[in-house]
């Protein structure tokens, strides 16, 4: 079962990797890193890895790290994710470095200022840096002990001009830059922003921990929505107002067959006045109170595959296809088969008995033959 799971994830993340034997001992194919494709073969127990020359030269500065990861990786899929991260990081770093070599290294004042800044902040704030020190990863810890990273690219005339920052925050991090501003003030501003979002992080963490989150697949602190399972065949998408997560009403959309989601809609309408906006309840607690349920937890990852096949598309057998997840469900309660809109439209269009009008296609469910209608485009 573990193997099937791994395989499925592998194909989700690396569609161009294919097993080279029926026992899935080895995978060959291509992985995409920073919009370039590299040839890779790997054994599923991570004892063997070979890459093409260009990828080899990219990761060569951190061979040691790669080797360690290879030893620690649970399976080929996890390792390839790590490999991709490492290579992406290397490519980014060399890109910045190349630019500086082309235009010459930044002046001495740049390094003088930078080193002073870092010694003030403490080197423990620096997670990594590029060879020319123009790209830095800073980290900070919030009151609850979460780590947040701040990716900084410094201009050659720093500190005259502000650095460019990339964060994992749900909002754009806009820095205030004055004459005396330095990296330290940027970090302080970032810490302040992080502190303002404590309720938001708490809300999301609570959902991730106490609900079965279907989307995003790997939630980060950036995403403001979660799609959580309500039962085997229905789910809801909850979008949270990140500015006031505890004092506002989230946007809720139910997904599933009419029969399955109707009771939830009704309860939401009936009990809406019990939604606590005083800041005492987290979103998940409010949802459970208003919907009168305990949100289901994920089924055991090692459990029999049949468990989660209830969520997979009845045509392609995958849950995630490109960017889409099954969003059409058969309305017959006993069937409730989910489909990707694209898969169902493609199948129905090929059938003679299908009718298409005003952007809707009507045909028969692949499984129960009951009539099913689907909009050709997503909206």
């Amino acid at each position: 079962m573990m193997q099937t799971q791994m395989l499925r994830r592998m194909l989700d993340d690396f569609p161009c990797m294919s097993p080279s034997d029926a026992r899935f001992q080895r995978f060959h194919g291509f992985i995409t890193i920073s919009e370039r494709e590299f040839r890779v073969s790997i054994s599923s127990d991570c004892t063997y890895l070979s890459t093409d020359k260009s990828l080899k030269s990219i990761i060569s500065p951190c061979f040691q790290k790669v080797r360690e990861r290879l030893k620690l990786a649970l399976n080929a899929h996890e390792f390839l994710l790590e490999l991709r991260d490492i290579a992406e990081h290397q490519i980014d770093a060399t890109r910045t470095d190349k630019q500086s070599v082309e235009f010459g290294l930044p002046p001495a004042q740049f390094y003088e200022q930078l080193l002073t800044d870092i010694s003030h902040m403490g080197w423990s704030c620096v997670a990594s840096m590029s060879e020319t020190m123009r790209a830095l990863d800073l980290i900070t810890r919030d009151a609850a002990g979460r780590t947040h990273s701040l990716n900084v690219s410094l201009p050659a005339d720093y500190p005259k001009n502000p650095p460019k920052c990339v964060t994992n925050m749900p909002v754009e991090f806009e820095i205030q830059w004055g004459r005396d501003s330095t990296l330290i003030s940027v970090l302080r501003q970032f810490e302040k922003l992080v502190a303002q979002y404590q309720d938001f992080f708490r809300t999301m963490e609570d959902l991730d921990k106490h609900a079965w989150v279907l989307e995003p697949e790997y939630p980060t602190t950036r995403e403001v929505y979660r799609r959580v399972a309500l039962g085997k065949t229905c789910s809801m998408r909850v979008e949270i107002d990140h500015r006031a997560p505890l004092k506002s009403f989230p946007e809720i959309r139910f997904l599933g067959s009419e029969a399955a989601i109707e009771p939830f809609k009704q309860r939401l309408n009936q009990n809406i006045q019990h939604w606590d906006m005083t800041g005492q309840s987290l979103v998940r607690q409010n949802l459970e109170r208003v919907l009168e349920i305990t949100l289901p937890l994920p089924v055991d990852k090692n459990a029999e595959d049949g468990e989660d096949s209830m969520l997979e598309c009845g045509i392609c057998y995958a849950y995630r296809l490109e960017e889409s997840t099954p969003d059409v469900t058969c309305d017959l309660a006993e069937c409730s088969k989910p489909y990707h809109r694209g898969c169902l439209v493609e199948w129905l269009r090929a059938l003679p008995g299908t009718r298409e009008s005003f952007g809707m296609i009507t045909g028969n469910c692949v499984y129960c033959e009951e009539s099913i209608s689907v909009a050709v485009s997503a909206d």
């Binding site: 079962m1 193997q3 099937t4 395989l7 499925r8 194909l11 569609p15 294919s18 097993p19 080279s20 034997d21 029926a22 026992r23 899935f24 595959d305 009845g314 045509i315 392609c316 057998y317 995958a318 296809l321 898969c343 493609e346 199948w347 090929a350 692949v366 499984y367």
Partner: protein, 143 residues
């Protein structure tokens, strides 16, 4: 003419492009066969280095006229599988059955108009075994 060598040859030497959906679905189906190995007693899938062409061995059902006889099926998957049915034939030696032609072609509606993406390699194999079982005696197709 040596029939077995004709049957044994791959359907086309040019590897066709499987769509991403087809590739994933086939890998999923193959995984089921190798994990549960086999999903149905008496059936097995041969090791094959092509994902779009499988060989499956099936065994005649107990108390049918094909009891314990083993036959090999060749599945060739279209590039847009499962939107279209796989091409399934018996490899030589073929069973003598009113719906199986001597060249291995099988007259079974799920392989043509009756195909649906809800069907799988496993369910097609089961349909074929049950088609064999329904014959009261062995015989060749009429005409």
């Amino acid at each position: 003419m040596n029939i077995s060598s004709v049957h044994g040859a791959p359907s086309s030497s040019l590897p066709k492009e499987l769509t991403r959906v087809a590739q994933r679905r086939l890998t999923r189906e193959l995984a089921e066969w190798s994990v549960k190995n086999p999903p149905v007693p008496g059936m097995s899938v041969e090791q094959t280095d092509r994902v779009d062409e499988w060989r499956v061995t099936v065994t005649g059902a107990a108390s049918s006229v094909y009891e314990n006889e083993r036959y090999t099926l060749r599945f060739v998957f279209p590039s847009d599988y499962p939107m279209e049915a796989p091409e399934v034939i018996f490899l030589s030696p073929t069973p003598r059955h009113p719906h199986v032609y001597s060249n291995g072609h099988i007259c079974l509606n799920v392989l043509y108009d009756g195909w649906s993406p809800a069907l799988t390699v496993t369910s097609v194999c089961l349909s074929i075994v049950s088609m064999l079982s329904s014959a009261a005696k062995k015989g060749s197709p009429a005409g």
